[in-house]
């Protein structure tokens, strides 16, 4: 379903959606919001992208990390090589994709990994309490505020886990449904 208006709009909207979803996630502790709602908002951005551009495009744009590199020359110093690699990967990404001598390695972030990460985060946030002799899921809070985001603590970590899991689940369902 390729409609130019939606397709263009969604490109601009996606960052806004994501920023808003993260904001919703963190404000959840004091105002309406939270991990579940935040996750849904974040997922909707990708779902709309999938709807207009197809799942392959969504995966290519958002869920793939490309690393570029080449083998180290025999007489090249290690630090120089590392700096080169950083330059290749950070500042010159666009050019490198078409460079003939550059090999690139892809990391595809499967949505199942996002689900797993979310679950792991949520579960580990409870283990923190266990390690210091308190019951499972005992909450720990920091003593300072971060502007906009609020107070960091293990329940926030738990909420982050919920957030990631919800995004992962919706993405997985969407990708499976829209595959040809």
């Amino acid at each position: 379903m390729k409609t130019i208006i939606l397709a263009t709009a969604i490109r601009i909207l996606i960052p806004i959606f994501i920023i808003f979803s993260v904001y919703t996630l963190f404000r959840g502790h004091n105002h309406p919001g939270g991990g579940f709602i935040g996750g849904l908002i974040g997922a909707i951005a990708f779902v709309f992208h999938t709807m207009t551009h197809g799942p392959q495009q969504t995966v290519d744009t958002f869920l793939k990390l490309n690393f570029y590199g080449y083998p180290r020359q025999p007489n090249q110093s290690r630090s120089l090589y590392l700096m080169r690699m950083m330059r290749v990967n950070v500042w010159r990404r666009r050019k490198m994709a078409r460079h003939p001598e550059i090999k690139h390695r892809m990391i595809r972030i499967e949505s199942v990994y996002i689900i797993a990460t979310g679950l792991l985060l949520a579960a580990t946030s409870g283990v923190v309490g266990l390690l210091s002799g308190q019951p499972f899921m005992h909450a720990y809070w920091a003593d300072f505020y971060i502007p906009v985001l609020g107070k960091p603590g293990t329940p926030i970590l738990f909420d982050l886990g919920v957030y990631l899991l919800v995004i992962g689940v919706v993405l997985k369902i969407t990708f499976v449904m829209s595959e040809e």
Partner: protein, 771 residues
């Protein structure tokens, strides 16, 4: 002790990695672990032998009264030393036996896992932890029996062992919980003093039945004995370790452990004596009917386990004394013989008794080990087995109404043991033979050292019974009797009745050995009897169970989403209506009619959106329209939530509606055209169901609203969400802090559902590809 268990688990899971790094040398760290635990236990031994019970407590789930409690007394120490000492030898032996096997790392993983679980079982001081370690041993045993997973027979045997012992484990869990209820504690050391409380409790009988079921399945007592011979599909180190020396003795251990708690009653005594007696005779009988070395050993093991159970059942001081001595003696010689059988199998490629002869020349050390173990098994003079047998006879000959029955049972099994011992210790090795069985490879040090060591231990214990064994066994028997025991183990008791009977046993045993070929020829005659044996019943039961499950699944899981939903909703309606009917309050509708006047403008507008949309939904014949209308209804409901002050719920509802519509649109074009396949009456059925459900929910909510909300929950959460949870949004604080465990459960369900959806849809696609 906790650290020992933890180290065991850690090393178990590191085993595959170690195998990758160390190759065939992996047995070195794997053997060092049980060895170091063995040494550690020996350092604890003086304290235990002095009569102290050592305990160690780690909180686990204190709110449920479940703690990781370790408890070491004489009985535990005996078993723990057996497990770790034997474990060391087995780890070495396995390194030689499975040398070059590609899955050796995995094998060590399972074996170390089992060893640790077994160690945990005997060290556990809390009956819930006993159960958990018990189940762990069942599972690791399953994995070990099924180690040769490419063969169907070993898969079946593994499953059989798991089902039988798992069933027993389930019964055991119930039994232990009942015992805990009767004794009002789950802590073993407290339970041991509350024997009277448990035996006089109303729940004693059910608890007894369940616990015995657990112990009998694990220790292969009649009628559950059939899994043990099949479990011989496992590699020989496993058979020697699990299925003769340790795991099958877990049931005996449990019975011994619970003797002070549950023992002493008539039910306990008679059940154990009868079941143990039948098992002893049956095992001995069946042992004479086989020619496979491992099968013979398996059946004699069953017989020995039966004897141990019988002795526990008799429950007098001499009987329990005989039990611990025989237990140790049996572990030593049976383990050796198993290892010897494995050796022979490894070197010659066959385990058939009839094809093996004259091996003493080519396998000198193995032959010596076999001879020593055989003599111990036969109960010949300087060996530990002799002391065990003497004590058995003495215990059965005590004054009791059944003394001749009991004696006959132990005499019979002793006779068969002698015959088997001659066949294995002498027959295949030392009998003169013109054509010795050829070897495929020479005897290897890793393979013959462990059995030789074990057999020598049997000899040393026999020659020096007072040295370390007597105090240990004394404390072990004390753990069962609850009172201080003094007994002297001695090799020579003088010329008395028991010695005469021992001699008679050996003589008759030799006669049995001499005629063993003729006995074997009778084996076929029993085939018809086996049709009604428990093994066959198990097979029939399993088949019937699977068939029944298939039928039920086909009926319940018919693949129509609507019938699932209809079933859930019908059940829901029925339950609610039933409870409303029986003791629900009546609705006073008339008094509440005036409230209709307080309707706000927005509510009427939303109602005016929802009701026409519903009517329109029934009329629509296109999916797209239906989805759009559903969207309208959903959004209107969300607006209701906002009106009534639940912004979180409203936001979630709005987002979910959006997502539902979008996802529907994604798959819309893939669905077939919308047609009515069912008759109109079918549809009216569902309309009726929806109406009933809606009416019921409305009724319930009206009734709920009829009473003032008198709950302190709201005030509590309102107050503590900021003070304790550091957040002002109560809903969210409840979700991520107060009831975070529930949320964790929910998101796990969500993740599983996502994976389920993936599996379901992918499966469909593959089917579509094929057609």
């Amino acid at each position: 002790m906790f650290l020992a268990i933890l180290a065991g688990f850690l090393l178990a899971f590191a085993a595959p990695l170690l195998y990758r790094w160390l190759g065939k040398w992996v047995y070195v760290p794997m053997a060092l672990l049980p060895f170091s635990i063995f040494i550690y236990l020996l350092t604890l031994a003086p304290a235990v032998l002095a009569g102290n019970n050592l305990g160690e407590l780690h909180a686990w789930a204190p709110s449920l009264n479940i703690n990781l409690h370790f408890f070491l007394d004489g009985l535990s120490l005996l078993f723990a030393l057996l497990i770790t000492g034997f474990g060391t030898l087995i780890m070495l032996y396995a390194g030689g036996y499975l040398k070059g096997h590609p899955l050796l790392g995995r094998f060590y993983l399972y074996l170390a896992l089992f060893m640790t679980a077994m160690l945990g079982l005997v060290l556990a001081g809390n009956i819930i932890s006993i159960f958990i370690f018990w189940e762990l041993t069942s599972i690791s045993s399953y994995l070990l029996i099924g180690f040769g997973h490419d063969k169907e027979s070993s898969r079946n045997s593994a499953l059989q062992a798991l089902l039988v012992t798992g069933l027993g484990g389930l019964a055991l869990m119930g039994g232990l919980i009942l015992v805990g209820m009767a004794g009002e504690t789950y802590t073993l050391s407290e339970l041991l003093d509350r024997g009277d409380m448990v035996t006089n409790h109303a729940l004693y009988l059910p608890a007894l039945v369940l616990v015995l079921l657990g112990a009998f399945t694990k220790s292969a007592q009649f009628p559950f004995h059939f899994w043990l011979p099949n479990a011989m599909a496992a590699p020989t180190p496993v058979s020697a370790y699990l299925h003769s020396a340790t795991m099958v003795k877990a049931g005996v251990y449990l019975l011994a452990r619970l003797t002070p708690v549950m023992g002493g009653t008539n039910e306990w005594q008679y059940t154990l004596m009868v079941v143990g007696g039948i098992t002893t005779v049956l095992g001995a009988l069946l042992a004479t009917q086989h020619t496979d070395l491992k099968a013979i050993l398996a059946y004699t093991t069953i017989s020995a386990l039966g004897l141990l159970v019988t002795m526990t059942g008799i429950g007098t001081a001499p009987a329990l004394e005989a039990m611990v001595v025989f237990l140790l003696a049996h572990a030593l010689y049976k383990g050796t013989l198993f290892l010897v059988a494995g050796n022979v199998d490894h070197a010659t490629g066959t385990r058939e008794l009839t094809q093996l002869e004259g091996l003493s020349g080519s396998m000198r050390y193995t032959a010596i080990a076999a001879l020593l173990a055989g003599m111990s098994m036969a109960g010949l003079l300087p060996f530990f087995g002799f002391i065990g047998k003497e004590l058995l006879y003495e215990a059965t000959l005590q004054e009791s109404p059944f003394r001749w029955m009991l004696f006959a049972v132990s005499f019979f099994s002793g006779m068969v043991f002698v015959a088997v011992a001659i066949a294995l210790g002498y027959g295949i090795f030392w009998r003169r033979s013109a054509s010795p069985t050829p070897l495929q490879h020479a005897d290897k040090a890793l393979l013959y050292l462990p059995p030789v060591l074990l057999a020598c231990t049997g000899l040393v214990f026999g020659l020096l019974p007072g040295f370390f064994v007597t105090p240990l066994l004394q404390r072990a028997a004390e753990g069962m009797l609850g009172v201080e025991q003094v007994f002297e183990l001695a090799l020579w008791h003088g010329f008395n009745l028991v010695l005469g009977l021992s001699l008679l046993t050996v003589l008759l045993g030799y006669v049995v050995y001499h005629f063993s070929n003729r006995l074997l020829s009778y084996a076929n005659r029993f085939n018809r009897l086996y049709l009604f044996g428990p093994a066959n019943l198990y097979q029939m039961g399993l088949k019937g169970f699977l068939k029944g499950a298939t039928k039920i699944t086909a009926f319940i899981q018919n693949g129509y989403l609507r019938s699932y939903i209809a079933a859930i909703i019908t059940a829901h309606i029925a339950l609610v209506v039933l409870s409303l009917w029986r003791n629900g309050p009546r609705l006073e509708l008339v008094n509440r009619l005036p409230e209709l006047g307080q309707l706000r403008m927005y509510e009427v507008v939303l109602l005016l959106m929802i009701v026409p949309a519903l009517i329109f939904l029934f009329k629509s014949r296109s999916r797209l329209t239906s989805i759009a209308i559903m969207g309208i209804i959903g959004y209107s409901v969300a607006l209701f939530y906002i009106l009534f002050g639940a912004p979180d719920v409203a936001a979630t509802q709005l987002l979910i509606e959006t997502l539902t519509v979008v996802i529907f649109v994604l798959i819309l074009h893939k669905l077939p055209a919308f047609t009515y396949l069912s008759h109109a009456s079918e549809r009216y059925k569902y309309v009726l169901l929806s109406l009933a459900f809606g009416a019921m929910m409305t009724y319930v909510i009206l009734i709920v609203k009829q009473y003032p909300l008198d709950s302190q929950l709201k005030a509590y959460y309102g107050e503590s969400s900021y003070l304790l949870g550091q957040g002002r949004n109560i809903v969210n604080v409840i979700l991520v802090d107060f009831r975070a465990l529930d949320t964790l459960g929910e998101i796990v369900v969500l993740a599983v559902a996502a994976i389920g959806i993936l599996a379901m849809l992918k499966l469909r696609m593959q089917k579509g590809d094929k057609s």
